[in-house]
Amino acid sequence: MAYINVDSVKQRTFDAIVIGSGMSGGWAAKEFTGRGLKTLVLERGRDVKHIKDYPTTNMMPYEFEHRNELTYEIKQKEPVISRCYAFREDAMHFFVRDSEQPYVQEKPFDWIRGQQVGGKSLLWARQTQRWSDLDFEGPARDGFAVDWPIRYKDLAPWYSYVEKFAGISGNNDGLEELPDGEFLPPFPLNSVEDHFKKQLKAQYGNRHVISARCAHLSKPNQIHLDQGRAQCQNRILCQRGCPFGGYFSSNASTLPWAERTGNLTLVPHAVVREVIYDEKAGKATGVRVINSQTKEETEYYAPVIFVNASAFSTNQILLNSTSSRFPNGLGNDNGLLGKYVAFHNYRARITAEYEGMQEYATDGRNPAGGGYIPRFRNLHKQETDFLRGYAAGFRANRSMQEDTTGFGAELKKQLLNPTWGTWKVGSHMMGETIPKEESRISLSKEQKDAWGIPLLNIAIDYDENDNKMVADYHAQMEEMFTKAGFTNIQKTDSKQAPGLDIHEMGGVRMGHDPKTSLLNKYNQLHACPNVYVTDGACMTSTSTQNPSLTYMALTARAVDHAVSELKKRNI
């Protein structure tokens, strides 16, 4: 910048800067503003105000031009995003299209992005489970990645803290591998899901089906009503944005809460290009931002910076934050920035039918989606020829079916008088993958985006461990389905590229040792402690749980730490 006006600098100086307004950034904003810090949230996408900016939320199916299907043209033009199940006419406007923001796939990777105020918190499937020590101790026990610098006891109070505010429905199931939490009433399992649960209990003892735990207000508490949210009305049109605030999103919950403190400044269309490192001060002093519309460049300053741009975008920003002290990216003294990334293996599915429970169906809709099977492989010791294991979704549904074989008045009658079909059951695998050095993201040397930022180059693949896990999932589930009396069992391996799980993690991993990790146990960069990373980039390993609850808990904990460090003038 050629000319720095002192007043203008003052206007652009805050107590804390948060990059990204999604699931984790929203929490950072809420925590900082709630502790009285003037907080700037920089968001590269447009603003999305709760309710007001949910244009499709109350539309009936026939109001969508293609009845919510994708056109051939879009599928051709945007192949990656078109593979995401939630990218449909009703929620398209909340996703980044391939053509808008290219990236380099050194190996196939479906990078699913939601870039607007609220990020992907608007779009998520709201499944939330805590990690246990069986997860945190995984790398140390099984000898991969590095040891997590934290254990369950470090995070447990923060899980409780975020659960109470976000509103998580579920049961206390008393399982060591899936710690209990602060739950609102669960959404019950249906007759066939219950049947499967009982069968597993009887035949295996240590395999469980529980009501899926999810971020829905099954019965709101005062704290939720105070946020302006109301009881979930079982629409399951959540990806459009919920007018009731029935599920947790930054837009419905943390951001309006932060705004009410009067301490929040939210700037949309602000693409953070890099974090500014001041060699003399020996710390980060601010960020450099490009307005996505005008391309105008601005700097903002604060004594502490939280990077919450979503796992891979956070890596991109840090890699692009170079200085003579950090020529390879901020905090990257050991060259590990961008390495040891991993994801969840979602390739395998199994479906079947059930002839029993004909006297029951379901009525209304279940926002939790059904049941959840926590990991049961290699839990306490190594027992298979692959490392770690998988969790699984499980759901049974019975729908009204119309006979479409005829034509004429008969067909019309059939269409208007459907009958109950048989029960269909299905499960999908959520496998832990092992972070490896060769799984990495880096900056493209040649190509830049419309804002002059090098494109992200992604090189991640499945390995033998993942293939063995797919085979084991199929074999185990088939056995369990058979024992439960399910028939017409079909197993599939989608062979989908990594990324479509939308649980990419790592690259800026936490650890004890600055030589082998980027972040310490409070999510501070070892080499630049006033920069914190608390989104998926910080993850040392991936476990099998849906990750977002853990990002939220880590974020709240890290802000608490940052505020006390600021007070002590340690950062």
């Binding site: 056109t71 029951y360 479409t404 019309k412």
Partner: protein
């Protein structure tokens, strides 16, 4: 068609499709704007009669009045690959030839009885592959379009935007299984 049902039909239309049943389109061209398919006004009319044979007007509106032939054309035009579009168009032509050969008339000119017989044969698989492929695409979209129409969703099989409940054990008569 009395005025009331005509108005109702129009309302159904404005629900979602912004298909202008425009009278300004060039003569001979289909009334609905299509990007890829070349469909004549006559063919569009024929499709209207086929979908009406599939889902006829009874005490409630049938497929023609609900515009499901136009809906099908739009879906084939927008959702299908060029190969599938060709299958549809070739099959439609084969269907027209077959009709002419069997009845000496076009489908529109056929008597209701003849239309029933033609469709009955195709529906039970008695026709060339080309014709059957066309018929299946048409039938699929007609059925989806019908089930997703405003009429069906608001009057005949109510779709609930806001169910406000989940009953996990919902008792049903075991005999409803067919």
């Amino acid at each position: 068609m009395n005025r009331r049902t005509a108005v109702k039909g129009l309302l159904v239309f404005t629900g979602g499709l912004v298909l202008l049943p425009s009278c300004l389109t060039r003569e001979g061209k289909a009334f609905i704007p299509l990007k890829h398919l070349e469909v004549s006004a006559e063919e569009e009319k024929m499709l209207g009669e086929i979908v009406e044979t599939l889902i006829p007007t009874t005490d409630t509106a049938g497929a023609k009045q609900l515009g499901l032939h136009k809906f099908t054309l739009k879906m084939v035009d927008d959702l299908h690959s060029p190969e599938d579009q060709k299958t549809f168009m070739d099959g439609m032509e084969a269907f027209q030839k077959m009709t002419k050969k069997q009845t000496g008339n076009s489908f529109v000119e056929c008597s209701p009885q003849e239309r029933q017989e033609l469709i009955a044969a195709i529906n039970s698989g008695k026709a060339s592959k080309e014709v059957i492929d066309f018929y299946q695409i048409l039938k699929k979209h007609t059925v989806t379009g019908y089930l997703n129409s405003e009429l069906v969703m608001t009057k005949l099989r109510i779709y609930e935007l806001v169910p406000s409940r989940y009953i996990a054990y919902y008792p049903v008569k075991a005999s409803t299984k067919n």
